[in-house]
Subunit: 362 residues, 2 copies
């Protein structure tokens, strides 16, 4: 009832039409959402279609509508769980809107220029760049060709493409305030990738806030957003003569690796011997073993915003470029020493906000 022969090629609208005794365009209409077809006709077509196992060929449809219904999504293949979640959510959200996700994984090591060609050849309707380290020229080239681009968790200097990011600067500042309030002595930052706008913004927020509070020296290492990079960075930090007692890692993935090293290799107690804070709030951070203090980036809303921007651009009624910032919170757990005040509870999480009394330079 669903197919003819095993290996036969898929039924066409033409064949359905013949079987149903109608014209091929009638078949097309039945499978076009807004078209008007007589109930009787529709019924016969549907019957014939299901008998033949017919499904409209999206390729053919794309050719004429000039819409592939495909969204290209570019993800760096570095094992960051935050991207996994984002990708999962994007995929589900786009599917719900009838779009397919064409996945491109950038090898963090190799040159990823050919991806542009692939993307353009496949005629994707839009492109989502998940915080990848592609040259910023990339996005601009796409925009120039008229391809809507949304950068997820990243920005470029020129605001040619839209972007959805978390509160990188603000979050990092708050983390600095938080660590200061708990009276740490020696601070360190573990950067992601040097080219990454996200890592830079977080670093600036962190460093500048510390500077405002007269912290002169802040240790710095680069973790390349990878677990092994973070491990090395933290070994260097904690192995030095005057190890820091407060480490801010540019993202959770690195923060977890940092905790692993601090505990297992240096025998340190998190939250007392050393404080480690991350950024993202990935699921694993809440595992009792890590209990990571972190500034959250709400994947759900970020994905929502992203999908929304794409949808609006595709509908044609949107500005060409939007910069969205989604709000997060400082989620307090046990990986960092806690200040006396400023703590409260929200949605089952302990969060920290800057007490009124403290000064907050703009």
């Amino acid at each position: 009832m669903t197919d003819g022969a095993p290996g036969r090629r898929p039924a066409t609208a033409h064949e359905v039409a013949k079987l149903a005794g109608v014209s091929q365009s009638a078949v097309s209409r039945v499978f076009t959402p807004g078209a008007s077809v007589a109930p009787a006709t529709r019924e016969r077509v549907v019957a014939a279609a299901s008998q033949l196992g017919y499904r409209p060929n999206l390729v053919a449809r794309s050719l004429i509508t000039r819409r592939s219904n495909l969204i290209g999504v570019v993800v760096p293949g570095n094992g960051n769980p935050f991207y996994q979640r984002a990708l999962e959510a994007l995929s589900v959200a786009f599917a719900k809107l009838g779009y397919g996700v064409l996945l491109f994984t950038t090898d963090p090591l190799a040159n990823s220029d050919p991806i542009l060609d692939d993307v353009l050849r496949y005629r994707v309707d839009a492109l989502v760049l998940i915080s990848t380290s592609l040259s910023s020229r990339f996005a601009e080239e796409c925009v120039q060709v008229g391809l809507p681009v949304v950068m997820f968790n990243r920005k470029t200097d020129s605001n040619a493409a839209s972007s959805v990011t978390g509160e990188n600067r603000l979050g990092a500042e708050l983390i600095a305030e938080f660590l200061l309030a708990a009276k740490h002595r020696r601070y360190a930052y573990v950067a992601g990738l040097e080219q990454s706008s996200t890592s830079r913004d977080r670093e600036e927020g962190f460093m500048e806030c510390l500077a405002r509070h007269n912290v002169k020296h802040v240790e710095r290492q680069v973790g390349h957003y990878s677990a092994s990079g973070a491990e090395k960075a933290v070994r260097a930090l904690l192995g030095s003569k005057q190890p820091p007692d407060a480490i801010f890692c540019a993202n959770d993935h690195m923060a977890l690796a940092a905790i692993s090293v601090a505990r297992a290799e240096f025998g340190l107690q998190l939250g007392s011997d050393v404080s480690i804070v991350g950024f993202d709030n990935i699921d694993m951070g809440s595992w009792p073993l890590f209990s990571l203090t972190t500034y959250s980036q709400p994947v759900g809303s970020m994905v929502e915003r992203t999908v929304d921007i794409v949808a609006r651009q595709l509908a044609g009624d949107a500005a060409l470029s939007v910069q969205e910032v989604t709000c997060g919170q400082l989620i307090v757990r046990d990986s960092a020493r806690k200040p006396k005040s400023g703590l409260s509870t929200q949605d089952g999480n302990c969060i920290w906000t800057l007490p009124q009394t403290a000064s907050r330079a703009g």
Copy 2:
């Protein structure tokens, strides 16, 4: 030099032909790998093409070649790092062969039947099912329609579709032998999903081997392959009156969550108070904090095999259904107590093999 107007639609072969003063088919040939074109012609076409920023429209090509150059990949959205790695590797490998990856994420909770429709509509050339819990009818339906299907890390009873799996049974048996050799007393298994062939095979291997050695009672919990599921399972296990001292989790993702709970909530010392073993050998298992003993599934070779099967099927010269098993090893770290003998080193890992003296029933 790469484009005409900003928002204009992409150049067509026709336009390139006009500009180059050749026929449209000449343009087509220039962009077809094996075609014969006079050097002079090629040059003019290439020049015109680059001036117009022309790239062949894969959609149009697909329509006529009846090949979308798209491989559908279905992944369960449960945050398992093993799948993330597999997906990354598959994506890179297929890209290298000129295929795009169309991603489908199954919501572990929701019904995923509509995916079949999507997949078929997009006319993907082949389908890779990453150990998803889709009804086994799914794969069979695809095969019946003539769509090549490879199951990654999973099998169905009917061998209609090809599959690439690790040594589930053998690995689990070896784990049992390993735990027995280290003289544990009370054994437990944390299952994945009940429907999962992978979890069942591992359970069978584990249980039967223990039974052969006269272990009567083995505790059992279901972790649903999720971190939170595993946490619950382990709490139940370790919170009981007679907690097990040897726990085999159906995969690493759950094993890590289990370790987290055992250490942080029960204050247990891994490898002495309790032994936890996983399956997969994901990167995080080697983090010093976890130091997970596990049976490895080599993602690299599994992906290679998968891509190879797909490629062969697409080339037409392959058997319709192949069942491949890729070999792994028992990687010994510190999360489980070690036996006296059988340990050796390989590729920087400590591995365990069954000492000759012990009996090994078939």
